[in-house]
Symmetry: none
Subunit: 227 residues, 4 copies
DNA sequence: TATGAATGAGCGTTCATTCAT
DNA sequence: TATGAATGAACGCTCATTCAT
């Protein structure tokens, strides 16, 4: 995750203890955002991270900065997952989709924001990551259509939407069971991706409609507080 | 909706204006909970409803009472939808499932809490409604299995899970487009419900596991703040 | 003072207790601003006024609103003083100036902001009051020049500047002694206003220069914290 | 200014860079105190001085130490100005007063604290400087009374009071115009110092009253935040 | 009954000050 | 020595909740 990688060009390397604190803050934020939404008191994140609230503010000047970094880390993980999956596209496109979506389910805990909806960000890094994710998914779909291994009407946006839906927490369920339910749902969805017996899907939103809301780039981001 | 129906046994009939206020509060709460989570300031709900905050408190002694009522109204709507769908089960079980899930998508705005995750409630009315919903869905599934119109491994819990997933808001998207994407996802899912070409699903959580967490009764309820 | 006058057109009359609280808050603010500057903690103002901080916020949504009201009350008092003085202009213009300036010294405690510098305000009421103050002073000066009772090179701006200077607190001095020193200074200044033995004063800033900074209207307002 | 002179008896000579830092801190403090009051965040002073906050703390163990040094530098400047003026007393006492007061106006920017009100200090150096300032002014006044060039009822305290009044910033005015207005005010005041046509001034506070509050020594110092 | 008003408690954020490098 | 980092405490402001009208 780029977020915890110090020494990035232009930002001076963090001192060892500071870097540790920073990583702990991000880990705590990830959990807290997922459990209690992005409006969770920052005090609580600091407490979970074992640092003072002012230390959190030193690293992340405001809530948005913290959210954005969690978001970027999440997008990076999504991209890695998509690229890993894309390597399977030549062999078996449907399995590649499965690898992608199941990979995300397996990392649900790390994906609070990019998929279940963080605030929109205008961070250029985030946009770039979103573009690359979409590109990797298109690669899989193109191959799947060419081999008639996937129904042709499914788009990258549909996969991102699906990712957003199945990664959201099912509160009040222990993680293991929530994952089991999401995996079962995914199983049915994957069977529906076969090219046979396909019903006609309603037309997707046009690219213009989506672009206006950054959907392609930011599947399901949202500003609000959520679980 | 039972929530706004006065004269229920044991509660004195409300004066006309009081009943109107109560209904306006519930409508405002539904919208506000969906947009800003159940932690939204009660002031805001009162303002949107056009009443004083103290009036809201008179009707609903605390936040939980308000949430519970919104929840009950939502469960009632889900049950109505499930019963309507069940009538089609004799003719076409797969279409019945579609009717149920598409019906919920079409009423997403009214379903903030029961499906996208409101707080758990121990209200006995809620439990009864949840039981009846599950029962109506079982009716559809039983018929579907008997006619081999549905894959046999899908359960009522799976349908409730699916309902919970597809009804959640996709923030940052205008309602129309969010609905379009959810509907496309549902289309693929429904194709995956056919009995042919079914992959093996992982075993569902046992009834005991679920019961401990009220999942069957309360698909995806949660305590926290959410959109 | 307009600030404490309820029932103004458009704002509903305050309840009796609320009006009392409001007046106490304004009185406390006047004192605290004078003693500790406009950056004084609002908690302290609330405490001095004997109300809860939230009550203060209910009446004055932010610090600026409170400052502005104190400012308006002060300008109103300055205007009253100027008008009273102007009535003497026909008889004795120099005494009229003395009445004006001594009157302000005697009310120093009520004049923290308009003269010793509150933040600039764009409040139209304030502008109107400032205009009327300048006008009353011009009336005195015109009469004084006509009768050769005042040196002709002194302007309304000079009188406002003088007012600003002599009304500022001399911290660390008990009020009585500070007033005595200011009064002595004023005595010398008034002798300097006689038409005889006048040295040449440097040219005043042009009206354009002043207008750009609202000096004519707002003699010595300032944004910052001050004693 | 003594403040920036290293090598004073008892304090070890500072390394060159340390001395430069110290001077920069003092310069930044002078400006910041004037603009934003003595309560201005020390961070900001450090930033303006281009040093780390911890460096500031190494030089000045607390805010008071910094304030006191700025105060001492200011008193030194006032004393220099008074002594320069006193040399003219033999020739022209009224001009000597003018030289003193106009000299202070011209250095307003360097005089934030001693005249416009810094916190009281018990620093013995400050007391000594204040005593010497009063002494130089007395010299002028004595000469002026002897030659009947000045009204006899004006005291050194009056001159210090006047200095305090005319050196205060007139916020919201650009420096040039504020200086112009202060100079015009001074012009009238100086004309009022002539021995003719003098009205009776109220009695000055007794020396005892003043001594209790260090007025003679510290014309208008105050503890609070101010512009 | 409905409302304006008041309050206490909580969270966001900043700052003075100290510590580790 | 100078600095990055960490901390505790203060203050601004909002909100849930209760009281008086």
């Amino acid at each position: 995750m780029t977020g915890s990688t110090p020494g990035r060009h232009g930002t001076p390397r963090l001192r060892a203890d500071a870097a540790r604190n920073r990583a702990q803050i991000l880990a705590a934020a990830r959990i807290a955002f997922r459990e209690s939404g992005t409006a969770v008191p920052l005090d609580e994140i600091a407490r979970r991270a074992g640092v003072n609230i002012a230390t959190l503010y030193r690293r992340f000047p405001d809530r948005d900065a913290l959210i954005t970094q969690v978001l970027l880390d999440g997008f990076t993980l999504v991209l890695d997952t998509a690229r890993t999956a894309a390597k399977q596209a030549q062999t078996d496109p449907l399995t590649a989709v499965e690898t992608f979506l199941q990979g995300l389910i397996d990392n649900r805990d790390l994906l609070s924001l990019p998929l279940i909806g963080g605030p929109m960000t205008n961070d250029p890094q985030a946009h770039e990551l979103q573009r690359e994710i979409a590109s990797a998914l298109e690669e899989i779909l193109t191959e799947g259509r060419a081999r008639q291994a996937l129904r042709p009407d499914v788009t990258a946006v549909d996969l991102i939407t699906t990712a957003a839906l199945i990664c959201r927490p099912l509160p009040h369920l222990p993680p293991q069971q929530a994952t089991a339910l999401a995996t079962r749902h995914l199983g049915v969805f994957l069977d529906g991706l076969r090219p046979e017996h396909t019903r006609t899907l309603p037309p997707p939103p046009t690219h213009e409609e989506m672009a206006a809301h950054l959907v392609l780039e930011n599947g399901s981001a949202d500003t609000s507080t959520q679980p």
